[in-house]
């Protein structure tokens, strides 16, 4: 009996610190967010006024900014997921061919991923403004002369481009790991059966890459939905609200507009949005995976 009690105490001593820390930094603020989302609160006054679901109805019907930012984040995520995965897969296939500089190139593509996203945003701000101006002078190509950050149409493409540029190396190494895990004998068997290179790729390699697709697309999805630093450094959500992501909108609502209650409501909607989207995508992919 004493032995049993000792075991229970031990289990708790080992695991309670982790539970307390997680609760303090995540669960308690989450519960507070849920409560404040039902109030009107400016963040400074002691008393938050309880107003029920009025914040939520205001966000989903009246306030355009929030829905616009949600739509921007959705568009951004779709563009980011598709482009980063497609380009990373192509480059991974090329970089698994045997040649001398392959490792060096992998390193090159990985460099932006280890840099701070804020700094990446600034680098591209510099390139989009000063760099492109000079390139236009040199080449005369109209491409360099567009206002990539100043036009509300183009800014979407610029932001997606920079997002993909920053993290491409990450998806490349994941796909390379996936490609290298494909058993050689399966590919050889296909060659013996007379399959062409394209057939081998589309009928053997791609289906067997299933787990890599799931990982990469899931990662890209969560990273895309979280986009913040890059946009803050690159455009601050502008021009106007043309590149305003939800995360940026939540931040501004609270710290610029001092609407903590409304900001909390926005963050709860954002949480549900992310949760539903990731679970739907994840279960869709799990069903499609091919087992070896």
């Amino acid at each position: 009996m004493i032995q049993r009690q000792k075991k229970i105490v031990e289990t708790m001593v080992f695991s309670i610190p982790a539970i307390i820390l997680v609760s303090l930094t995540i669960y308690i603020p989450f519960l507070m967010s849920s409560y404040y989302s039902l109030t009107e609160w400016n963040g400074i006054s002691k008393q938050a006024v309880f107003i029920g679901f009025r914040n939520f109805t205001a966000l989903l019907q009246g306030k355009k900014e929030f829905l616009t930012s949600l739509w921007f984040t959705t568009k951004y995520t779709i563009g980011y997921v598709i482009l980063s995965n497609l380009i990373a897969l192509l480059l991974a296939v090329a970089l698994t061919k045997r040649f001398r500089l392959a490792n060096f190139f992998r390193g090159i593509f990985f460099v932006p991923y280890i840099m701070s996203m804020t700094i990446v945003g600034f680098i591209w701000k510099f390139i989009f403004t000063s760099g492109f101006e000079k390139l236009f002078e040199f080449t005369g190509w109209q491409l360099w002369n567009y206002s990539w950050l100043g036009s509300s149409h183009l800014v979407f493409y610029s932001v997606v481009f920079v997002g993909v540029w920053q993290s491409l190396g990450f998806y490349i190494v994941l796909y390379i790991a996936g490609l290298q895990a494909i058993p050689k004998d399966v590919l050889e068997a296909a060659t013996v059966d007379g399959a062409s290179s394209w057939q081998k790729f589309s009928r053997v390699t791609l289906p067997l890459l299933g787990p890599s697709f799931t990982t990469c697309i899931f990662m890209a999805l969560t990273n895309g939905l979280k986009v913040f630093d890059i946009i803050l450094a690159l455009t601050k959500g502008g021009p106007g609200t043309a590149s305003n992501s939800v995360t940026l909108q939540i931040y501004k609502e609270a710290f610029t507009n001092n609407n903590y209650g409304l900001g909390s409501a926005e963050s709860i909607i954002y949480f549900l949005f992310v949760l539903i989207l990731t679970q739907v995508v994840l279960s869709a992919f799990r069903r499609k995976e091919v087992d070896l």
Partner: protein
């Protein structure tokens, strides 16, 4: 023979394309480095040209103005505090929750890893309020401690999955020799976790070192506590169009990561892959 030649040609074309692509890819970073050595006038005159002479005055100015050494030290302190705590608390929890299966353990495990589903931005507003109450905001140590909470879910998940591969017989034979649970953890289990510990360290160093939003919320009020990226953000904001100083600040903010990457490339890439596949 012709087939072989054809393959060679394909390979050469592929090589050329890849080389061009890699050059274009890294060109913005290169351009930033190059322009950080130029005085303002030269940047305006021609961004693409090489600097006329090797001039370090931008670096000297930014180094002193940003108080670079202090920022660097702040980053190291925060990252080390964060990592050490994450590793200790996560590996301990993962160890015991795997070895003592039962109702309590499954609830505790679920509690610890579920926060992986909650995006940081959902809680950032109220986090600031609760951390003010706990006096964990506004200090380096406080920020480091907060990373414990944010790092534990993912780290515990990775450690827990690895624990399953360590046979329980190892614990049992040590127990027969009279070792306590804590001794088993310190002397036997923790050393066996080495490979995943490296993974966790790689992932968390990259995250904490470059993190922006949490430091922005917590330690932005005083120059004493700012992190490298945060100070660079403020500094670049103030410099606005003085690109020579802004670019130098950018270079100085990312150079530590680049040096570490060049030295530890293999571990970093392996760690990132392992972390993604397990996470």
């Amino acid at each position: 023979m012709t087939l072989k030649n054809q393959k060679m040609i394909y390979k050469v074309i592929l090589m050329i394309c890849l080389t061009m692509l890699a050059c274009m890819y890294i060109y913005p970073v290169f351009l930033m480095f190059m322009n950080s050595f130029k005085p303002f006038g030269e940047i305006i005159a021609n961004v693409l040209a090489f600097p006329s002479k090797l001039d370090l005055s931008n670096y000297i100015y930014v180094f002193n103005k940003m108080k670079y050494l202090r920022l660097f030290r702040n980053n190291v302190i925060i990252t080390v505090i964060g990592i050490v705590g994450i590793i200790i608390f996560s590996s301990m929890a993962a160890y015991i929750l795997d070895r003592r299966r039962g109702k309590y353990s499954s609830v505790a495990y679920a509690l610890i890893i579920t926060p992986m589903l909650i995006p940081f931005q959902t809680i950032m507003l109220t986090l600031l309020k609760s951390m003010n109450t706990l006096h964990l905001s506004g200090s380096k140590i406080g920020l480091g401690v907060q990373y414990w909470g944010f790092g534990i879910p993912m780290a515990t998940f990775i450690f827990y999955n690895f624990m399953k591969t360590i046979p329980i017989e190892i614990d049992e034979s040590a127990k027969i020799d009279g070792a306590s649970t804590f001794t088993i953890y310190i002397k036997i289990i923790f050393p066996l976790l080495k490979s995943v510990t490296v993974t966790v360290i790689v992932l968390d160093v990259m995250w904490i070192w470059n993190d922006f939003l949490l430091p922005l919320l917590m330690v932005n009020t005083s120059n004493e506590t700012k992190t490298l990226v945060l100070a660079a953000y403020t500094f670049i904001g103030q410099m606005n169009t003085k690109w020579n100083y802004a670019l130098t600040a950018m270079v100085m903010a990312i150079v530590p990561s680049i040096i570490i990457f060049i030295l530890l490339q293999k571990y970093i890439v392996e760690g990132v892959v392992a972390g993604a596949v397990k996470g």
